[in-house]
């Protein structure tokens, strides 16, 4: 009788040069270097934490790498890339409850559940975020005003702490950690298992309406009118328009279809039906589009791009059509790597969240100040939000205005100065900020919008979960470490 061989798990990891990699922000405006590890199991994850402890280096967690700034970077430390922990552990098509590992992407999730009639409750503009990363950043979608952030649909998770121990948290168990780890930008521990409630759908399409907005003021009015009856609302803003047309743009309003409205749900709820398409006009590969965009992604060119989009919106005003979910949600994936069109300096996004009562006035002033500084954003996106129960949340009952700025070697100081000026305006009006998008937040601003009590509470939880401060990112060191002094 042969002997059963038991393979002993050994930790032979080391910080070798072969692990060193460049780690860039999604916007490409900043880069860092780190020892990148890509565990596939929780045991390997624990090994990396043990290695960090042994070597005295920090560990930063990274999902799909879609954070615009430095929230998924850890300069000269270990970067835990979780994209290979991507098993769907359990799926209940009757209830829509799914349990996944942290590296499962939004795309993998909807591709898995769609045919059973379930869709992710919250979708970001890209389908390549991981669920772990989305939970850590507590991401939102175009339905934030109606269903809140992703965290509101998470039922339970397992979190591995930096000492290798795993705890379970839900609204009933370890509730404080549940509400702090979601939206805690990965600072308390690493999600190893997350359970979510998916959204029941009866069609693979949504009913979309295009509403042209001749000014920011009109867009706000359109949002107010449509919020009660919409499932999704998002506004594109031409940030280069001035005068009476300041903030002009286009609102996309969408609703789910009922069972009676889609005659062929079995066809529309197929993965192939959601395909974004490989080519534009059947000729130009979408993957090459950023090269065609590049000549226009500059100060003289971008107003023309915005004008073109605005006037085409005027022609399409009032148009209604049905669109597959994926095509409606994942606009950032239409042209892969489109952010490269901004050039080698990359881009940053500044996304303030402002209470509903002040949002219109604040965002109008923001647009005027950007234009006065000759730093008009290349892209502006308006969304409606609601408050949520998470400790470090960006969510509030109000609006957000996401502004993309091209970064060049020469405009960095002006951009920093402008953002500081805008910070003061946002803070004075009770606004908040969003780590997933941030590149400029300062410690005192974070303290002001979160409040002393929330910051203190988070620090205490951090001390409890990660007493030796093993888990860190560039964002954490930039914004929160100085607050401890």
């Amino acid at each position: 009788m042969g002997k059963l061989k038991i393979k002993k798990h050994t930790n032979s990891l080391a910080l070798t040069d072969s692990r060193l990699e460049k780690v860039t922000s999604w916007g490409g405006a900043s880069r860092s270097e780190g020892w990148v590890f890509r565990p596939t199991t929780a045991a390997q994850l624990a090994d990396v934490f043990a290695l960090a402890r042994r070597e005295g280096v920090s560990v930063g967690l990274r999902g799909g790498g879609n954070s615009y700034g430095d929230a998924a970077s850890n300069q000269n430390g270990i970067v835990l890339d979780l994209t290979r922990m991507k098993r769907i552990l359990e799926w209940q098509p009757e209830t829509g409850i799914v349990t996944v590992e942290p590296g499962v992407t939004l795309r993998e999730l909807w591709e898995y559940t769609l045919a059973d009639g379930w869709w992710p409750p919250v979708c970001t503009g890209t389908m390549y975020i991981t669920i772990g990363g989305g939970a850590a950043m507590n991401v939102h979608g175009k339905n934030a005003f109606k269903v809140g952030t992703l965290g509101e649909h998470i039922l339970e998770f397992d979190l591995m702490l930096s000492n290798g121990e795993t705890i379970t948290a839900s609204r009933d168990e370890n509730s404080d950690i549940f509400h702090a780890a979601i939206g805690g930008f990965g600072m308390l521990g690493c999600f190893t298992r997350l359970t979510l409630q998916m959204k029941r759908i009866y069609s693979g399409e949504v009913a979309v309406q295009i509403i042209n907005s001749r000014s920011l003021s009109e867009m706000f009015a359109q949002f107010r009118d449509n919020v009660p009856t919409s499932d999704y609302l998002v506004g594109w803003v031409d940030c280069t328009a001035t005068g009476k047309m300041l903030g002009r743009g286009e609102v996309h309003q969408a609703n789910y279809l009922t069972a009676a409205q889609d005659r062929y749900p079995q066809a529309t709820m197929q993965r192939d039906h959601q395909h974004l398409g490989d080519t534009l006009f059947g000729i130009v590969p979408r993957s090459a589009m950023w090269r065609f965009m590049q000549p226009f992604w500059n100060r003289p060119g971008i107003p023309w791009v915005n004008r073109g989009k605005y006037w085409s919106s005027r022609l399409k005003d009032g148009g209604r059509y049905r669109q597959p979910h994926a095509q409606f949600h994942f606009l950032l994936n239409y042209f892969p790597d489109w952010q490269k069109a901004t050039g080698k300096g990359g881009l940053i996004q500044y996304q303030p969240f402002v209470p509903a009562a002040h949002a219109e006035a604040v965002f109008t002033t923001i647009l005027q100040r950007c234009q006065a500084a000759k730093l008009a954003p290349y892209l502006g996106v308006l969304k409606r939000h609601r408050a949520d129960p998470f400790l470090m949340t960006h969510g509030l009952d109000g609006y957000s205005f996401a502004l993309d700025f091209k970064v060049t070697d020469s405009n960095r100081p002006q951009l920093v100065a402008l953002c500081r000026e805008l910070d003061a305006l946002v803070l004075a009006n009770g606004g908040r900020f969003y780590p997933a998008k941030d590149s400029v937040l300062r410690p005192e601003v974070a303290q002001a919008y979160l409040g002393d009590s929330a910051v203190q509470q988070f620090r205490m939880l951090k001390k409890r979960c990660d007493p030796d401060d093993i888990i860190q990112t560039n964002f954490w060191r930039r914004v929160f470490v100085p607050l401890a002094d």
Partner: protein, 250 residues
């Protein structure tokens, strides 16, 4: 050391090898004034400490560049202390006095050991890192003396000529990996090394040379003469036929 890095206002990190006097000391001051965090290396502790005391954000590491065995570990330690690495400048160099009829192997060996092998020991480490991290700048202070084999200092010319070729090889390896390699060829710079030069002209200060060198590194230049007019002089000198060159008193 865990440092704060701001996406729009990054703190760059630099290593200067051979930093206790002359161009190296000026490089530490210049980089530091531009906001770099600098690791300064040299053999002479007192002089090095004085240089670092005079610069903001510079740390001294006493090191003999011919102590090749310690370089890999020391390099890793410094990079960890700095919190990363963006720029490395190899500036260590010796030029002992050599008489016109002197063929002293010890002196030649010393020049090759410091000017060339020390550079290879340090810059290989940086090259390996930048190869992985797809970025960074490597610079070495070679010399116009490396462009032609004059009769005056055979060992020195050889060491600098070989250093320039080594840098070109690094460039050809790493350019496609996103790293930038800059060969610096100073003319006469007002430094202790100048004491052994047989004749001098167009002498510039070490501070001026350092400013031009850092500008060149930041601009991603490949080969830069300091000051720039040496490019044209050396272009002519390089093309003088050998049978004429050996009859000239240059």
């Amino acid at each position: 050391m865990q440092t704060v890095d701001r996406p729009l206002e990054p703190t760059k990190k630099a290593i200067v090898v051979g930093a206790s006097s002359g161009i190296g000391a000026a490089l530490v001051r210049d980089l530091s004034a531009r906001g770099y965090r600098v690791a300064a290396l040299a053999r002479r502790e007192a002089e090095l400490d004085a240089v670092c005391a005079d610069a903001d954000n510079a740390t001294a590491y006493v090191h003999d560049v011919t102590d090749y065995e310690v370089v890999p570990e020391l390099f890793q330690q410094i990079v960890r202390d700095l919190g990363g690495l963006d720029v490395i400048v190899y500036n260590a160099g010796v030029q002992p006095q050599v008489a016109a009829d002197e063929y002293d192997f010890e002196k030649d060996h010393q020049m090759i050991a410091v000017n060339l092998l020390g550079a290879m020991a340090w810059l290989n480490q940086a090259a390996q890192r930048f190869d992985r991290t797809k970025g960074g700048s490597i610079a070495a202070v070679s010399s116009v003396a490396g462009d032609r084999g004059r009769s005056a200092f055979p060992g020195y010319h050889t060491s600098k000529g070989a250093l320039s070729v080594y840098m070109e090889s690094l460039r050809n390896r790493l350019a496609k990996r996103g790293a930038n390699i800059t060969t610096i060829k100073p003319g006469f710079v007002d430094t202790p090394l100048l004491e052994n030069a047989d004749k001098t002209f167009w002498v510039i200060s070490a501070a001026d040379a350092a400013r031009q060198i850092v500008n060149a590194i930041e601009a991603g230049k490949q080969t830069v003469y300091v000051p720039g007019r040496w490019r044209w002089v050396m272009l002519i000198i390089q093309h003088i036929p050998s049978f004429i060159f050996r009859r000239m008193s240059i």
